[in-house]
Symmetry: C2
Subunit: 133 residues, 2 copies
Amino acid sequence: MSAQQLIERLKQWQGQAVPAGACPVRDVMDHLGDKWSTLLITVLADGPQRFNAIKRAVPDISQRMLTQTLRDLQRDGLITRQVFPTLPPSVEYRLSGMGESLLEPLAALIGWAEAHHPAIREARAAYDGPVVA
Amino acid sequence: MSAQQLIERLKQWQGQAVPAGACPVRDVMDHLGDKWSTLLITVLADGPQRFNAIKRAVPDISQRMLTQTLRDLQRDGLITRQVFPTLPPSVEYRLSGMGESLLEPLAALIGWAEAHHPAIREARAAYDGPVVA
DNA sequence: CGGAATCCAGCCCGATACTG
DNA sequence: CAGTATCGGGCTGGATTCCG
């Protein structure tokens, strides 16, 4: 299976084979692992959005984290930022080509999460203890 | 594209449509986002491993985090734990069926990370500033 | 061997207030 | 509108020590 092939290639990155944080998997995954990155990517998936539009789409994000996460994504080249010199100024964020290319594998993972969420919740409930012996 | 379809279905989970942390995507992603989960899953991908074998495969994980991450994965039903009453005792961890089903989407994401890592590093370098004006 | 328990530093992130 | 600055709490995760 294709998973196995990738696993094989993964081995060269595991352990101390790699100097420090040079492992590409960890380097990228650590970013996607933060609280908001993937969520913002999915928000931008259906078209460019302005700052406050994103904020409205994700009500429980703070301004601070929105700004910061957007900047990190921009820094990684996943999204682009375009400022329109209107008054008041408006700033539009959109996925870059690379950002869009991330959508497919991300969607696969999200699909998995959706599909298995019930089973996971069950497993958790079972593990956490049949309190009622 | 299939990504778009998933994005559509995602919308119902974004924002306040969902009570609290009931969003399956976040619920699962937050776990995969932690520092070690995905790494341990890939380690277990090529067969069951004992505690110290995993530890050796991932030298820079602390005992504490190894134990804790394994427990969390077990709690979510992604791995199973089997104790052999030998002397000294040995404990074997292996991916469950659900855990194995995660390998495919995970491999896709890892593949993407590997493929785009150079571009990301470039983007970061460019963003962080041509210090040499 | 496979943990559990404790202590503690760092950072993640939210809340709030201010700016151009 | 689109940020920035500052403060502070809570959780993550590393180091160390002890147990069956």
